[in-house]
């Protein structure tokens, strides 16, 4: 098991290389000369040419990529021509809020969606099942920005329970940090929880009818024991699979949540950098995000090994 995980870890390197090459070529398709964007409309053509040369954007794409890769392998992702800040520092300072938000959102989604799905699947047709169906539909359908505004208006402005937006670093106050993260985490979790609830419900429904459950019941096992030992464990496999798939989607939706709740995360950095044609920063952000998705999926696969002994390699 350890060997197959190690093999997967080694594989992330070529995947990251491929991602970086892909992003590099995609960025060059975006119209808008970076030098022009940086200098503004009042720059003389001479200055634009000079800056292009400094940025290297006047050279063939293969040469640009090779130069970037060479420096990147040495741990230097360059310095943003827009802000003058090293890319590694820019990405580094925005990573913690995003990772925290993603993790909290996932925990909330798995706990909430999982619980609803289990309850709904165990008693199909019941009130809780119908309510779950409604909630799941709503969770998938509601746009992130609308949910964010509704949460802010309801739980913050009306009820005064939580701060409407902002980010408090851990080192300043752990309680403050968590309080500020509740609403954003709920926003991030909504869609994912809805998807998980539905998957878990159908998985539980299916398992309930399995012969081994009938056998267990015939043996006189208590309902709780049947549920915990046989149904829940088998339902975990699809939960894990869905979670793995949702991690990537989660990062995509992060931009809106970060913007609505004023969280200084990596999603906003990515969008600002694309708009400003700050390609070096975009590269840095994408690499980190790709790494995050790869590692999260690896973790999910490893957990599958633990949950389902029939699986022997990832």
């Amino acid at each position: 098991m350890a060997r197959s995980i190690a093999a997967r870890l080694v594989l992330t390197v070529p995947v990251l290389l491929l991602v970086s090459l892909l992003v590099f070529s995609l960025l060059l398709l975006i119209p808008g000369d970076p030098a022009l964007v940086i200098l503004g409309p009042d720059a003389s053509p001479v200055e634009v040419r000079r800056l292009s040369r400094e940025l290297g954007t006047d050279r063939p794409i293969v040469v640009q990529y090779a130069a970037w890769l060479g420096r990147a392998l040495a741990g230097d992702l360059g310095r943003s021509p827009r802000t003058g800040q090293p890319v590694v520092a820019a990405v580094g300072e925005r990573l913690p809020p995003t990772v925290e938000l993603a993790v909290l959102g996932m925990v909330l989604a798995i706990a909430g969606g999982g619980a609803l799905g289990l309850a709904a699947g165990w008693r199909p047709g019941s009130l809780i099942d119908r309510a779950t169906a409604w909630l799941a539909t709503l969770g998938i359908a509601i746009p992130t920005f609308l949910l964010a505004i509704l949460l802010i208006l309801g739980l913050s402005l009306r009820a005064g329970l939580l701060p409407p937006s902002g980010y408090v670093p851990w080192r300043e106050s752990v309680a403050g940090n968590l309080r500020a993260m509740v609403l954003p985490a709920m926003t991030v979790a909504a869609t994912m929880a809805a998807v998980i609830a539905r998957v878990v419900r159908s998985s539980v429904l299916e398992t309930r009818g399995e012969l081994y459950v009938v056998t267990a019941r015939a043996k006189g096992l208590s309902e709780a024991a049947i549920y915990l030992r046989h149904v829940l464990r088998n339902a975990l496999v699809p939960i894990l699979a869905v979670t793995g798939l949702q991690v990537g989607r989660l990062m995509g939706g992060m931009v809106i949540t970060e913007t609505m709740f004023a969280i200084p995360g990596i999603g906003r950095l990515a969008v600002d950098s694309v708009l400003a044609r700050d390609f070096l920063t975009v590269q840095g952000v994408v690499l980190v995000m790709a790494l995050w998705v790869l590692l999260a999926n690896l973790l999910v696969d490893a957990l599958n090994l633990v949950v389902d002994p029939r699986i022997t390699r990832v």
Binding site: P31, G32, D33, L36, V37, L39, G40, P41, D42, R50, L51, R79, R82, T83, G84, Q85, A90, E93, R94, F145, A148, I149, I152, L153, S156, L157, P163, P164, S165, G166, Y167, P169, T259, M260, F261, A262, I263, P264, G265, R268, L269, L275, A276, R277
Partner: protein
């Protein structure tokens, strides 16, 4: 007897002392933290590198200019106590004594020389272009600086009140290099403490500030809240104290609620449809005039911008000192628009392409103009695309028209008219050309008496408006909303927030 005399003398001295302190100062309380909310984060706090308006809110707290502005945007002394134009191409500036940078180093003539040369040095990659007119700077003595100019201009003091005149600590800049933008060091009322990217910037009171008694606040925090509705919600909830640039749709509600102080005053900029008069069809004056007659500006202002502004008559907004209130501009008249079309040789109208950037207001304006032009038989095809793409076509002059905003930097008319309408203007090359306007603008630029310049500018504007060089729509107001306890924040027509004299009522 003597003790009574002494007591009386002391009392008299005390009374004189009292009257010497302006009444206003007595009412101001010291201390407290002001939390300013803004939608966009500064890109860099190096004055040479930044590009946008909202950066000034923070820059003005950290840096002082050689020259400053008063409330009405007239120039006033700041780090320079006085200046003199000794000949058309030479200025001499006398500097204030006893000024310190936040890192403890002295501000003097050598620092000024170093700052100006830093901006002119191509290696700095400064985006400030104004100072290109400077040929050389010399430190005459420790507190006197002489500027020699490449060409005669009366605008140098104004240029030195903008980014180019904000003084950076040479020692800090040499030490920090490109990291200065994240660790700014100036002579301003507040010194830099921390910057958490995209979240907040914290400053604290600079105790050795040269203007004794200032600042009043202990701390200033600029919080970055990108979504406008959330920004206003935070202000209402008391999480922040001050917001500049309130969305016009919220102004009415905030005023009605009455829980916050709302400030509103005419601004320097305008929303406009930029016409490329270098190429067809807008290289035809009658066609441009037809466009001008087809649009109802007051109606657009009222329905699209909630009336938070003034309908435009030309390129100069009311707070610009050369604004001519007698200038009529164009009012909507579809019959006249059709006549002008016939006069221009296109009686059946024409079709053109309008570039629209991704900002919502650009799109709203473009759609409204499109509908009104249609009634006059003119078809505008909107190409809604990313702002960068618009910019590229505008710079290359391959566009026909674009819907955008002109953010007025400064109350000096030259800052609008020269770049936009002089044939060598930075935003105008190969676009609008009128020798009469060129001559007027060049002449006005070389003079420094406001009255003489005003006449020339008003004549130039009358010509530009008669030429219908562009489609000016309306001048948006400058706005701010704040908690009732916020005092002394000055909001000028330039939309920049100045916290120098700000204080909080207890």
């Amino acid at each position: 007897m003597t003790s009574i005399t002494r007591a009386l003398a002391a009392l008299a001295a005390f009374a004189t002392l009292l009257t010497a302190i302006p009444l206003d100062a007595l009412a101001q309380t010291r201390g407290g933290t002001l939390r300013v909310g803004q939608a966009r984060s500064p890109v860099s706090l190096d004055p040479a590198l930044g590009i946008s308006l909202h950066e000034f809110h923070v820059l003005y707290s950290i840096y002082d200019g050689l020259v400053g502005y008063d409330e009405s945007l007239a120039l006033k002394p700041a780090l320079a106590e006085s200046w003199q134009r000794t000949d058309p191409r030479t200025y001499v500036f006398k500097l204030r004594r006893g000024v310190k940078f936040h890192d403890g180093t002295d501000f003097d003539a050598a620092a000024v020389k170093w700052n100006v040369e830093r901006i002119l040095d191509p290696a700095t990659k400064a985006r400030v272009r104004d100072l290109d007119v400077v040929e050389a700077v010399e430190a005459v003595d420790s507190h006197t600086v002489r500027f020699r100019l490449k060409s005669p201009t009366g605008l140098l003091p104004t240029f030195l009140a903008e980014r180019g005149g904000l003084m950076v600590s040479p020692a800090a800049s040499k030490r920090l290099g490109p990291d200065l933008g994240r660790n700014p060091v100036g002579t301003g009322p507040y010194r830099f403490v921390e910057w958490m990217a995209d979240d907040h910037i914290t400053l604290e009171r600079f105790d050795q500030y040269w203007d004794k008694g200032l600042p009043h606040l202990d701390k200033v925090i600029y919080r970055i809240i990108p979504d406008e509705s959330v920004l206003v919600t935070n202000l209402r909830g008391g999480q922040i104290d001050y917001v500049a640039d309130v969305p016009p749709k919220d102004l009415g509600t905030l005023k009605r609620e009455g829980a916050l102080t709302v400030e509103q005053r005419p601004g320097l900029g305008f929303y406009w449809i930029n016409l490329n008069s270098g190429i067809a069809p807008f290289n035809n004056k009658a066609i441009r005039q037809a466009m001008a007659y087809a649009v109802d500006r007051p109606a657009m202002l009222k329905s699209l911008y909630f009336g938070a502004g003034t309908a435009a008559t030309g390129p100069l907004a009311p707070p610009v000192w050369a604004f001519d209130p007698a200038l009529k501009g164009y009012t909507r008249d579809v019959t006249k628009a059709k006549q002008k079309l016939a006069e221009g040789g296109m009686p059946n109208g024409f079709t053109f392409k309008m570039l629209v950037g991704s900002t919502p207001m650009y799109r709203t304006n473009a759609t409204a103009v499109q509908a009104q032009l249609a009634e006059a038989g003119i078809t505008a095809e909107l190409e809604i695309t990313e702002t960068v793409k618009v910019l590229q076509q505008v710079v290359a002059r391959t566009y026909q028209a674009s819907s955008t905003i002109w953010i007025g930097l400064n109350a000096d008319p030259d800052f609008v008219l020269y770049p936009l309408y002089a044939s060598q203007g930075l935003f105008n090359k190969d676009r609008y050309k009128n020798p009469k306007v060129d001559e007027l603008l060049d002449r006005a630029r070389s003079l420094d008496k406001q009255d003489e310049r005003r006449k020339l500018y008003q004549e130039a504007v009358a010509t530009i408006v008669d030429d219908a060089a562009d489609l000016w729509l309306y001048y948006p107001d400058v706005t701010a909303a704040m908690s009732k306890k916020v005092r002394g924040v000055s909001l000028s027509a330039d939309g920049r927030v100045r916290l120098r004299g700000a204080w909080l009522e207890k």
